[in-house]
Symmetry: none
Subunit: 401 residues, 2 copies
C-alpha cells in the first residue's frame, strides 16, 4: 500500500464531500441460490451500482476473517496489520469509554474459584447482567486507586466487564491471567517487556483485591484479566488525508473505532433516517461521512437471513435521501461479510461500489456479490478504498513529475 | 512485486522480440457514453485484442494519479515507489540533457525581485522564450565554474530553465529557494543531509552570481531553484531482465526516461510511420522496442476529445506495419490515463493487451476500457507487465524446482 508519508504529501484539502456507507457484514452466501443482497429488492442500490465502479474488497487478505477493529481500520485507509487494537481497548470502546494516553484497558470476566484457588468456571456460570451490575458497584466502592493508579470498572453483559487503569508509566504488553481451562489457578500477569513491569504489578494487585472483595460472592468470586492494552497510536485521517471526517453510528464500538482515527462523533438517533438527518444537519461541517448500519451484521450473526434481507431493503430505501445531499463521492460496502448461513464474520470479500461524476461504470449492474465480481475494480484490499475515494473527490495531487 | 535479484536470476537471453507500444494517456472517460478508445474506429487494435490476454493496469496503486516519470518506470518493470526521479532530473531529460553520475540538476525559474530583495513575481511575468534564450546566453558567458564545479545552463519555455552542476561530491537532497509566495525573500538552499553541504554551498553561490549578473534585467532579475536532484541509480533493464532494449520516442523526456533504465535511444522522425521504420531498421539489433506515441496524451491534456480519437485511429492504422515485423510479443497500453474530459493525467487504470503465440485469449473483444475490464488479466499493477512480456517471449526460467 501507499506509505503514510506519501499519502500525507499527496492529499490536499478541498470542499468535495465523501460519503462512506458501511452496511456492516452485508456480504453473504446463498440460500436457494441467492445471497442476502441478491434476495433483497434494492432498486436504488442497483441503480447506483450501474453508474459506479464496482468490485470486491478484502479487509486484510484473501482467506482472513477480520474482527470489526481491523476491518474498519482497513476501510479507513490504514494497514490493518500495522496497528493492533487490543481486545481490552475494543471492549472499552464498545462500552463507550474514552481512552487517553495514560489509560490501560482490560477485558475482564467474572469467574468461579474453588477453596484451593482453582478456577471451576471461567465465566462464573454466565451470571445475569443484573448481578454483574451489582458486583461491579461493590468493586467500585472498594477499589478506586492502586498506588498512584486510578481504577475504573464498568459492567458489560453477563460475566463481562472492563477495567481501565489510569496513571503514569503504564504500558503493555502483558500476559493474561486466564488459564484457558478449568481446574487450574489463575495465572500471574507478567510484563512481556521491561517497560511493562509497573502495569503488571498494578494489575496483579487489582486481581488480589477483587479476590478479597468477592470472597463470599460465589459463583462470581474471582476475575480473569485478558487483552490488557493501551490505545494504539494511529495518525488521524486529518493528518494523513487532510479530511475532516465524521462518524454517524448507532453502536458505541464503531464510534470508538472512528475516534481512534480522529473522526468527529456525531450523536444521532437509532434509526437510519436519524443518521441521514444527522448527516444533513452537519453537511457543511465535514467533508467525509462514515455512516454505519449495524443490524445487517447482527442479523447475519443471528443466522436470520430474512431479517438481514429486510434490513438491506430498509437501507436501500434510505439511499435516495443520501444521494439528495449531492455528495461528490459515494461508496457503499461492508467492513467484512457475515453470511447468515455461517452466523459469523467470514473471509468472503465485500461487495464494493464507488460513484462519482468521474468513475468509470462497468458491467456490474446491481449491488451484490456476483455482480460486483464483474466490476472494473477487481478484487482489491479494502485499504485501497480511501485513495480511490480521495482521487474521485480530486483530493489527491499527482505522484511524481 | 518480484524482487530485483529474483528477476536477475530468472531472466534469460534469447532472440525473441518484444514490442511495447505505449499510447501515452490513451485511457479516457466517456462523452455521450463512449470513451476516446470506444469512439475511435480501431479495427486492427480490436482484432489484436480478440487474440490477446487483456486487462487493466494501475501504474502505482488504485486512486493514485502518476506523473510521466513513475508511470513509465512502472511500465518498464520497476517499483515506482522505490526510485525517485527529481523534478530537476525530469526537466533536464525533457530538454534532452544527458545526466552523468557527477551531475546535479535543478529546475529553475526566472523571477522578479524588488529593491529590498523580496520576490514580486515568481515567474518573472512569464517572459517570452526569446528573452529567456537571451538571458541564459548572458548567464553562460558569466558563469561557467563555481569552485571546481562546472555549470551548464539551458533555456526552457518562458521563465523556465535548467541548470546542471557537474563535479565531485555533489549530492542531494537539498531544500529549494522558492519561497512559494511573493513578498518574501528567496530562501537559502540548505543541505538536508550532511553529505549535501557542498552542493548547497555551490548552488547558493550560483544564485548570488545570477543576482549580480541580472541586476538590471527586470523583470527577470533573479532566479528560484527547485527540484535539485541527481539521476536516480536505477539498475538497467539489461542487468535485471537481460534485454537489449531500444526506445523510439519523439519527445526528449521519454527518451530521457528510457535512458535512465539503460535503453538505447534510436533517433527517429516525428511521424508514427518514421517510428515504425526506425524499428524495422533496428530489428536485428535489439530484442525490446519501446515505441512511444505522445499526442494521445497531449490532446487529452488539451481536452481535445476528437483529436485524441483521431490520433488513436492513426495509431491503429500503423499497427499492421508493426505486426508485419512478426514480433514474438506485442503489448499495447498507456502509461497513465489522460481523459479529455479531465484535461489532465488521472488515476483510472490503463487498458492493456498482450499478444503472443501462447497468450490465452479472453472475453475482451476490442481494445478499450470496458472490454479490457472483461480480460483475463484483471486489474494488475503496471510493473507486472514486464514479467508477462518476458514470459510470453520465453525469456524467464522456472522459479524454484
Amino acid at each position: 500500500m501507499i506509505p503514510n508519508h506519501v499519502m500525507k504529501e499527496l492529499s490536499t484539502k478541498n470542499d468535495a464531500k465523501i460519503v462512506l456507507l458501511v452496511m456492516d457484514g452485508v456480504g453473504g452466501l446463498p440460500i436457494d441460490g441467492k445471497t442476502e443482497l441478491e434476495t433483497a429488492n434494492t432498486p436504488n442500490l442497483d441503480n447506483l451500482a450501474a453508474q459506479s465502479s464496482c468490485g470486491l474488497t478484502n479487509p486484510i487478505s484473501p482467506g482472513i476473517t477480520p474482527g470489526s477493529g481491523p476491518a474498519h481500520l482497513s476501510l479507513f485507509g490504514y494497514d490493518p496489520l500495522g496497528y493492533e487494537i487490543g481486545r481490552g481497548v475494543l471492549e472499552a470502546l464498545g462500552l463507550g469509554i474514552d481512552l487517553g494516553d495514560n489509560d490501560l484497558a482490560a477485558r475482564a470476566n467474572f469467574a468461579s474459584m474453588d477453596a484451593q484457588g482453582r478456577i471451576t468456571d471461567r465465566r462464573a456460570g454466565r451470571i445475569p447482567t443484573e448481578m454483574n451490575l451489582e458486583i461491579c458497584q461493590l468493586l467500585r466502592q472498594n477499589i478506586t486507586k492502586i498506588e498512584d493508579v486510578e481504577v475504573k470498572i464498568q459492567s458489560g453483559m453477563e460475566h463481562r466487564f472492563v477495567v481501565v487503569f489510569t496513571g503514569e508509566g503504564l504500558s503493555g504488553p502483558l500476559s493474561e491471567s486466564d488459564p484457558q481451562q478449568v481446574g487450574l489457578e489463575p495465572l500471574e500477569i507478567k510484563p512481556l517487556v521491561e517497560g511493562a513491569k509497573k502495569a503488571a504489578r498494578i494489575v496483579n494487585q487489582f486481581v488480589q483485591q477483587v479476590k478479597s472483595v468477592l470472597q463470599d460472592k460465589q459463583p462470581a468470586n474471582m476475575c480473569l484479566m485478558r487483552g490488557l492494552a493501551k490505545s494504539p497510536n494511529i495518525p488521524s485521517m486529518h493528518e494523513l488525508f487532510k479530511l475532516t471526517p465524521a462518524a454517524i453510528a448507532t453502536y458505541p464500538m464503531y464510534n470508538g473505532l472512528a475516534k481512534l482515527v480522529g473522526m468527529e462523533i456525531l450523536s444521532t438517533g437509532s434509526e437510519l433516517s436519524d443518521q441521514v438527518e444527522t448527516m444533513r444537519k452537519n453537511w457543511d461541517n465535514n467533508d467525509f461521512f462514515f455512516v454505519h448500519v449495524k443490524k445487517t451484521d447482527s442479523y447475519g450473526e443471528d443466522g436470520n437471513f430474512a431479517a438481514k434481507v429486510k434490513k438491506i431493503e430498509e437501507t436501500d430505501a434510505i439511499l435516495p435521501d443520501i444521494l439528495a445531499l449531492n455528495p461528490d463521492v459515494v461508496v457503499v460496502t461492508s467492513d467484512h461479510s457475515t453470511p447468515a448461513v455461517l452466523k459469523n464474520h467470514s473471509w468472503h470479500p465485500n461487495p464494493f461500489m464507488i460513484h462519482s461524476k468521474y468513475c468509470l461504470n462497468d458491467q456490474a449492474l446491481a449491488f451484490n456479490e456476483h455482480q460486483c465480481m464483474r466490476g472494473c475494480l477487481g478484487t482489491i484490499p479494502a485499504y485501497e478504498a480511501i485513495p480511490l475515494m480521495l482521487a474521485n473527490a480530486f483530493k489527491l495531487k499527482k505522484f511524481g513529475a
